[in-house]
């Protein structure tokens, strides 16, 4: 079987697995967020946290809860890292230095999982399990909660209540993420992923010197790392590490996990708004973008132009021989299209075009299919923009899902749309202005520029994948990338919740023949066009100096 056919087979299996889970999981999530009763476990949590699960919040309160919860999470995570020597299972790995601790705390709370540290060298098991893994769950649940609040804005009419953040957070964690992650972790162990509290194993190398190969409670973190589109590996090599991702099957399974929730959320959306077609439209846009990106990257990596690559027949540098080109590009497109950022190959070593795909995939705003929750609200914001721009062309005040898009809605959507380009462009510009920046980089010219753009693109979009090839441990990068992650996460969330609040107050306008149809293939094209055009217009100059110059 040629690699190409085998690759197609993998893509086929992946798509079939996703299709099989689409309805049950999507419907399950819709039920979870719409359910009346509470589980006993949940009641316990509410009692502990002293929240009344049956009171609903305005968008401002909901937003304050999101911000408050995230702020406390950052502080706790920061303290855990700083106080690591006092914690068990630290194996003498000392306190994490302040800049890195801040960056890491922000990174995991914002669902970015940008890692400026090498997991097995810097962090002990306690910080990994009680700190990072916990955030992997709750940061994902926060994203889903915000997305659900936005959908409620579309569904509800003439109310100022969007639901209860604490309930959405708890349910997302307890009823959705935990059960799936538990099953996935067991499956991963079965597939060979390591799960151990030991420090490591002693191995005598060929040179006769004894080395310690680090072990970690990997499978439990690996499962939620993919499922929650987090991407922060317990090992530095991430999913290219054989203990995290031992073989082709685990690779495919992890790939499936990271696409699972973002894809199924479109079904949840369709269910909640009472028109499944609306969900299929979003899924089609996401699928279309994902497929085109996959094809482009696949073609690029099998048609390289470097001397060494030509000799090898493909751009194998930086890729795992265990996975080969197809599984590497499949992962690359999935991990950058969702805001996961886990890697099973080094994106820095991809061809100009292949690396550009990873970069562009993030710069699209993480909507193909995007992070857990973040992908859904991201594409809904773009849908609002698309409807507003082109919707006027049917001769009515634009309306989406029965809600009119007026001044307040457009303002909120505009802020949500504006945040990411601002962070990425200003961050990149600022970093390049610094005279010391070239010293941190292993490359110059167009590839060097791509590395910096990638770093801020990854942080601003809460992706977390790294182009690597760049040392980001200086205080400047730790701080600016940290701020980029914060702004890239919470500015859109605030704007999205404001949008939801304003939508919920409106009446629902019944659809007529005069209403812009948003459940049609035409709208798929329109929305895809908007996503691509907005990203292209914003980033073409930067891309021209980076990957485009490199690829041509």
């Amino acid at each position: 079987m040629s690699p190409f056919v085998a690759g197609l087979g993998q893509v086929g299996l992946l798509v079939m697995a996703l299709a099989a889970c689409y309805r049950p999981l999507g419907d399950h999530m819709a039920r979870v967020y719409g359910a009346e009763g509470h589980w006993r476990l949940e009641r316990g949590i509410y009692r502990l946290a002293r929240v009344n699960p049956d009171s609903e919040q305005r968008w401002t309160t909901y937003a304050a809860a999101v911000l408050g919860f995230s702020f406390v999470s950052i502080v706790l995570l920061y303290l855990m890292q700083r106080l690591q020597p006092l914690l068990p299972l630290g194996f003498g790995r000392g306190a994490v230095e302040p800049g890195m601790a801040f960056n890491t705390a922000v990174s995991f709370v914002t669902n970015t999982n940008w890692q400026s540290y090498a997991g097995e060298e810097v962090l002990g098991h306690t910080v990994q399990m009680a700190g990072l893994t916990v955030q992997n769950f709750v940061s994902a649940a926060v994203g889903m909660a915000v997305a659900v609040a936005l959908v409620r804005g579309f569904v509800r009419a003439r109310t100022d209540r969007l639901g209860n953040f604490w309930v959405d957070l708890t349910r997302g964690t307890v009823r959705i993420l935990l059960p799936i992650a538990a099953i996935a972790a067991i499956l991963l162990v079965a597939l060979g992923t390591v799960m151990s509290l030991a420090r490591g194993i002693q191995v005598v190398g060929v040179d006769g010197i004894t080395r310690t190969i680090a072990l970690a409670p990997t499978a439990s973190q690996e499962a939620i790392k993919e499922l929650g589109t987090n991407g922060g590996g317990i090992f530095n090599a991430n999913s290219a590490h054989p203990f995290e991702n031992p073989n082709a099957w685990s690779n495919l399974f992890e790939n499936f996990l990271l696409l699972l929730v973002p894809v199924a959320l479109t079904r949840t959306f369709g269910q909640m708004v009472g028109d499944r077609k609306q969900g299929y439209v979003l899924l089609s846009v996401m699928g279309l973008l994902w497929t085109v990106m996959l094809a482009a990257s696949w073609w690029a990596e099998t048609h390289p132009n470097g001397v060494a690559s030509l000799a090898a027949g493909a751009a194998m540098e930086g890729k795992e021989v265990r996975f080969g080109i197809p599984a590497s590009v499949l992962w690359e497109v999935s991990t950058t299209g969702t805001s996961t950022g886990a890697v099973n190959s080094m994106h820095d070593s991809f061809t100009g075009l292949g690396g550009g795909v990873a970069l562009l995939n993030m710069l699209l705003g993480e909507v193909a299919p995007g992070g857990v929750g973040a992908g859904l609200y991201g594409i809904l914001v773009l849908a609002v923009i698309a409807v507003f721009l082109a919707g006027l062309m049917v001769g009515r005040t634009p309306e989406y899902l029965g809600k009119k898009l007026g001044r307040r809605e457009v303002t909120a959507a505009a802020i949500a749309m504006l945040a990411m380009p601002t962070v990425v462009l200003l961050g990149t510009g600022l970093a390049l202005l610094l005279p010391s920046t070239p010293d941190f980089m292993t490359n110059t010219g167009s590839h060097g520029l791509a590395e910096v753009l990638y770093a801020y693109g990854s942080a601003g979009n809460n992706n977390g994948s790294a182009f690597a090839g760049m040392t980001v441990t200086s205080d400047f990068f730790q701080a600016t990338l940290g701020v980029a992650m914060l702004l890239g996460r919470f500015l859109p969330i605030l704007a999205v919740l404001a949008l939801a609040g304003s939508l919920a107050q409106q009446r629902r306008v019944p659809a007529t023949a005069g209403t812009l149809p948003t459940g049609s293939p035409l709208f798929v094209g329109m929305l895809t066009g908007t996503v691509v055009l907005v990203a292209a217009l914003t980033f073409l100059p930067a891309l021209a100096l980076g990957p485009i110059a490199e690829a041509l």
Binding site: L392, G395, R396, G406, R407, L418, L426, G429, T512, L552
Partner: protein, 710 residues
Amino acid sequence: MTATTPLHTPEHDPYTPKEAQELHAERTGRKLAAGVFHPRQLLVSLPDAFRKLHPRHQLRNPVMFVVWVGSVLVTAFTVLEPSVFSIAVAAWLWFTVLFANLAEAVAEGRGKAQAESLRGLKTDTVARRLATNGTAGTEEEVPAVDLRVGDLVVVEAGQVVPGDGDIVEGIATVDESAITGESAPVIRESGGDRSAVTGGTTVLSDRIVARISTRPGETFVDRMIALVEGAERKKTPNEVALTILLSTLTIIFLLVVVALQPMAGYSGRQISVIVLTALLVCLIPTTIGALLSAIGIAGMDRLVQRNVLAKSGRAVEAAGDIDTLLLDKTGTITFGNRQATELIPLPGVEQEELAAAARLSSLADRTPEGRSIVDLCVVDHGLPAEPGDDERDGEFIAFSAQTRMSGIDLGDRQVRKGAASTIRVWVTSHGGNYPDRADDIVERVSAEGGTPLACAEIDDDGRARVLGVIRLSDVVKPGMRERFDELRAMGIRTVMVTGDNPLTARAIAEEAGVDDFLAEAKPEDKMALIRTEQEGGRLVAMTGDGTNDAPALAQADVGVAMNTGTSAAKEAGNMVDLDSDPTKLIEVVEIGKQMLITRGALTTFSIANDLAKYFAILPALFVALYPQLDKLNIMRLATPESAILSAVIFNALVIVALIPRALRGVRYRPMSAAGLLRRNLLVYGLGGIVTPFLGIWLVDLLVRLVPGIG
């Protein structure tokens, strides 16, 4: 309710089917009539365009303000370091600002001429004010500007009405052509729904006393002047939202350009401020930014051209959003007057006999109903329309409100037609017998929603007898069904409102093809219907003229008051139709839609244009750094300078090229939203991507000839 009673001579009755059909033919199968645009208007408006270069004016439009600042910046740099290229860029950036001003100035200019003619009405009218204690004779002459609300004024034939008001005493014919453009005078009388008089109009006959209802300076004419001049123009909600989005895009492109400098610097080449500014101006949505206010003004102007005054742009916008149209049956869906549709003879009477009698009895009846009876006899029975020689000798009995009969006496023979009860009295008083069969027919016709008229005669022998019954029914105007089908395709539901009983209402509703009807409607029912629709999230439009329509007019999202109506109605509605044509509501909706479509189309076009501009400018900027980027120069533009300049020039010229489109509005045909979207996406989305590639390439062919550029 009949909307209007112009003083037509019967020969000019507008409701004769033939004329109505011609009128309709004019309206259907048309594009929305385009306003006339002469290139000369561009020249005339130039001085205004220059005046608008003032920064205070520019600040109102964020997109164009950025261009303005860019122009100042580039000019400053050009003064410091002049070159052919920098001078050319500076000049064309100023042209860009100027062209935007021009678009607005042209749009405003079209209203100005109209405002001037209206101002002529405000010459120093002298008012004859009655002393407030009211006794006759205590009359004083005061300037019209000194009138206060509540003052009573006397106006006699040949005098100009000094201010807006309602007639409290008298009846008069009034020439309102100054406002409506309609030369036929109209009747105004105290009480009822035709009591309003407008300042500036002329009383042609009789004497009226009117109570002033508006303060000077706030009269209808004043407001009209302000409206057509655009002086009171506020941004409409949708315009505000669009401006926010355009500003956001502008900010994004500002960031793109700001971040480009360090990226370029890192790559080894600083970019000049002139080039960066040129890039910025090309990227930000200048096309729609420049034309946005012109589109709004032109939308109002298109309404004015159709003799509809919108009190705000908001109302015009709302018109495009209308989901439900409430249409009065009478005068809107059916002709204002009932028409004869059938002759039903009694047993023993020949059809021809009845027809002859019906015609004879109606020859003297000059009411529309009477004329329709003659018409029916002419068309169906081949009888002559005019009285024959022998008939002229007869004595005509004209219809009057007292007798409720009309007819003719030919020697001893008398023929009459009229309301059944009147005819019964007439026949029995002449010794005739009123048969039960006649009662049956009369009842049946009534039950079916028609109006029965009985026809009887006293023959030469002095024998009185009833001949039969004439059925008068509502006749749906031709073409209404097609109009409603169009509206349905546009997603608009039509509801017919009538005072008729449900049975009649249903029959007419089905014939006309409306979606729903409200029968036996009282004003409060109408109000309730509007509220219900609005509760369901639908926007409602209606027309009205009576004082009892006022609350509903105010409640409706778009309320078009008839100019013939009371001032209360005109005050409550957010539009006034000077022609008092209730069908125009449909056109108002189309104009609203067209305005929104124009905005959306030009926005899409503007943004889609950016792709080609990148392909022109990016290779130009960086080809020195990365020669391989020349592959992106797919238009094969001559030099970096010519490429950048061509993009700037194209960007400026496209504004001028689109001014007529902005003023006329994009082509609009009633169709479903899906159809409209597909069509407009193709034309303005795809067209917006392709056009600039061609345009920039063409401009470059010329620009490359300039020494120092090519």
